[in-house]
Amino acid sequence: MEIGGVMAVVVELITGRTLDQGATVEEKLTEEYFKAVSYIELNEEDFKQLNLKEGDRVKVTTDFGEVVVFAKKAELPKGIAFIPMGPYANMVIDPATDGTGMPQFKGIKAKIEKTEEKVKTIKELLEAI
């Protein structure tokens, strides 16, 4: 669908652990960790709708922020997207805790659109916070 004249899809975003994120979590300032956490997985249909190729960048926008990440196709239900837990996901998750202390890391409405903007490095991301 077009949102504000731009081709975009609206998804429910979830975040979580992956093996690669875990294996590099004690090496956060390395290229390996950057690769392990700076992407979003999209359902094939959503991926096609945005006219994406593997490795293209997308901008993820929620009510709480935006972040540019690499796009990957994955086996996911249509309308669900996944970013590995970490600094990129945390730019867009819902910080409200409903009195529990726990932000909402899963189940956030997000708009995804193709972008030419670059993916920030970990250090650039931290500067932008």
Partner: protein, 418 residues
């Protein structure tokens, strides 16, 4: 060396073999192998990026902490109980806030347990007895890769002898790696865990009529089938993950799941247990619980401990800008907190104690490197099922342990504060 204890995830595998020449470990998973692999370390203590001695760094850290009105002491999930014990005393002496990684992980389960209690069991009981295992919003194939093999999927137990005798069910919002090896995968809509637990409770208590034809994306027939399997299990286990605690409903989801287990326990035997993440995140809650009565989000500013996650969890404290210094031990909140919380960590002086450089290192005023428990230091940790295990020291190091660093801090703080 034999029977090495892994200090990565909450499974705390205790059967590794360490090759001293190759400096690598056998038998462990990808996560455990990465833990024991050589990697970049923080080389020396630093103040504002300048290398100093341990004593100088600790002096400066103590100066910041005793002059702070309300310091936040956060982390603790990847260190030993001996260090956590000192951390809690330090928080009390400083009139600060003690919080730990569970507050952005499994703490909603702690809130549910306060309300409901927990019908629990050890990993040994799951391995030996569980003929039905439900992974609900948990994905051990990526987060606890040997859990299935040692305890919950293909484990060979005393009464449940192999994979064929154990039914494995995954409930999740996406087909995870664990879902691929399950007997049954039930895909639900994100944020509908609570409703599905309620539907299962209704069916099991004989009120299936009240359940609509579909709940949270799951057909009623499928829910009836799941309820039947649960009722007919000899010994069932719900092993839940962050899919339950980090999505809509949070603690109420876990509470409803516990109520479901209580209902099942009128006719058969079920347990429910969280799949804890870091190797000693249980210790980060148990130690303050036996010291001051609470597991996390504890404020000492009035001279006695007060528990209130809405006020004293790290994310809430940082969002309200309610701390003026932070001591971060064995954790990386800058990488794992929401943006608005990280913004405040960038404003205040941060003291970090950690073996490895991470995103918190980049904002820290004082960085104090430490030894790695289970490799360079011994201590005690609680496995995810609260079983204490002794962590071994395999190699020598010049790095101080968290325990020694905190002991020195406490000694100096006591001089100022008495």
């Amino acid at each position: 060396m034999q029977d090495i204890v892994c200090t990565f995830c909450g499974s705390v595998c205790d059967d590794g073999e360490y090759d001293l020449k190759k400096k690598s470990v056998k038998k462990f998973c990808k996560l455990g192998s990465s833990k024991f692999a050589e990697k970049e370390r923080i080389k020396a203590p630093m103040i504002d990026g300048k290398e100093v001695s341990y004593e100088e760094a600790i002096d400066k850290a103590v100066e910041i902490l005793v002059n702070a009105k309300r310091p936040l002491l956060y982390g603790w999930a990847s260190t030993a109980n001996e260090a956590i014990r000192l951390g809690v005393i330090l928080a009390e002496k400083l009139g600060g806030v003690y919080d730990q990684c569970a507050s952005v992980c499994h703490a909603p389960g702690t809130l549910a347990t306060i309300e409901e209690g927990i019908p629990g069991g050890t990993l040994g009981s799951v391995k030996n007895r569980a003929d039905v295992v439900v992974f609900w919003g948990s994905n051990p194939m990526e987060a606890h890769p040997r859990h299935g093999m040692r305890y919950s999927i293909s484990a060979k137990g005393l009464l449940v002898k192999d994979r064929k005798q154990r039914k494995v069910i995954v409930v999740d919002v996406r087909p995870t790696k664990t879902a691929k090896i399950a007997d049954i995968f039930i895909q639900i809509k994100p944020g509908y865990d609570y409703a599905i637990f309620s539907a299962l409770r209704a069916i099991i208590s004989g009120n299936a009529d009240a359940v609509p034809s579909e709940v949270g994306g799951v057909a009623k027939e499928k829910l009836i089938e799941l309820a039947d399997i649960m009722k007919n299990a000899k010994y069932g286990a719900i092993l839940y993950g962050l899919g339950v605690t980090q999505s809509r409903g949070r603690d109420r989801n876990v509470e409803n799941a516990i109520k479901l287990v209580q209902l099942l326990n009128r006719t058969t035997r079920w347990i429910i247990w969280p799949m804890r993440g870091h190797y000693n995140v249980v210790g980060a809650g148990e130690v303050p619980a036996w010291e001051v009565g609470y597991q996390y989000a504890i404020d000492f500013s009035r001279g006695y401990p007060r528990f209130s996650p809405a006020e004293f969890s790290a994310v809430e404290v940082l969002k309200r800008r309610d701390c003026d210094a932070a001591l971060i031990v064995a954790s990386d909140p800058v990488a794992h907190f929401p943006r608005i919380a990280v913004q405040h960590l960038k404003r205040i002086p941060v003291i970090q104690i950690d073996p490895y450089p991470n995103m918190t290192t980049l904002v820290a005023k004082i960085v104090i490197p430490s030894a790695v428990y289970g490799i360079e230091a011994e201590g005690t940790a609680y496995r995810m099922d609260c079983i204490p295990l002794r962590l071994k020291k395999i190699i020598e190091t010049n790095y101080w342990t968290d325990e020694k660093i905190l002991e020195e801090m406490l000694r100096r703080v006591e001089k100022f504060k008495g």
